[in-house]
């Protein structure tokens, strides 16, 4: 299961960037993500998580739930490597 903290963080950052209420089942591009907002979300996530979050990941994991799972997987991989 995705970590609650990362899920809340993603929901907060996406909601702030897109200026809307966000649910874990939402697809970024169904709720108004743009070429600019994906860049903002990527930058904000990288700052908050100290993790490389390429814009491509937002397209490949376009729902909040998928994105959180991808982030948790990346964090777990980084922890193991560290």
């Amino acid at each position: 299961m995705p970590c609650r903290n990362s899920r809340d963080l993603v929901i907060e950052i996406v909601g702030r960037a897109l200026r809307c209420d966000v649910d874990a089942s939402d697809n970024l591009f169904d709720i108004g993500a743009t070429s600019l907002s994906v860049a903002l979300i990527s930058t904000e996530l990288e700052r908050a998580l100290a993790l490389d979050v390429p814009i491509r990941a937002l397209y490949e994991h376009a729902t909040i739930r998928e994105l959180v799972e991808w982030i948790d997987g990346r964090q777990a991989a980084c922890t193991q490597q560290g």
């Binding site: 070429s35 600019l36 860049a39």
Partner: protein, 346 residues
Amino acid sequence: MDARPKAGSPDSARELDEQLHAFEQFAARTELGGLVVQRQGSHQFVLRPPGGPDAPDAPIDLVLMALTHGDERGGLAVLNAVCGAIDRGEIRERISLGFVLANVAAARAGVRFLERDMNRCYGRSELGTAEDRRAREIEPTLRRARHCIDLHQTIEPTLTPFFVAAFHPRSLSFACAIDTTIPIVTHWGGAFSASAGAGCTSDEFVQRTAEAGVSIELGRKGFDVAQCEAGTAVCTRAIAVVADMARGRPLCELSAVSNPIHSWAEVVLYPPGDVQLTPGLKNFQTIAAGETLGLHDGVALTSSQGGTLLFPKYVARSQAVKPAELYRLLRRCDVEELLLVAGNQN
């Protein structure tokens, strides 16, 4: 001392008059380089091969437009240069060509627009401003366009001309077919400007019905010989590309577009207080994260991230109304990202 003619200066006004006169001379002809001239209302005409479809709603293979912003006059000289080349037989392709001057009233007044940014007026139904009324006059021509290029200029110098277009695979392929070395700035998921309201840009409007629509920023605004030559080369090449397509040669796929492609990384809003950007900033200048770009209330104004600078705004302290944006930063997009965007759009 800056010796370039300023928009609205006597020299610039005289050249504008001469260029507008030349455009109207072409529009008043019955024939140009073997093509039939059809006037389409004020400051618009179509060149059509003899014997081709001539119905009022017949498609136009390529529309070339200028003066969307009244103070970006360089495109007018380009349209006249293209018409001159057709007249002299230097351009011989037998396709239909539209020529449109969008906002002559603003150009004559020496301003970007009279009441509302013309490039935020397309696709609306309003008639309340001069620009809305003019947009309603132009839209029928734009709806007939199969391809369209809108010629713009920047406020500040630019290190390279660049295409600007809402993300639309065929429009990017069209730009690539014209010139692979000219960077493309593209964006998706929203209008060009957050303040666009219900209106859109010319390329966004044209893309609704046409095969391809792009804008190109030629360089710093004003009449300029080098920009005219570059713009004429772009339009001449576009005519050849469209003619090749009519002969059955397709545009490349999105995956084969090789131009440098950029999109927005950040739109920096104009902050309250006193802002002075460092003199000499240019469009397409590379900016490092943390680089000082000016002063804000006496404190260094630094870039929060690295990128490519676009549309820096220098505003006099005495100017009461500040622009919405201070500058934009661009990031490079790879084709894989664009293919994912296209996938999400389908």
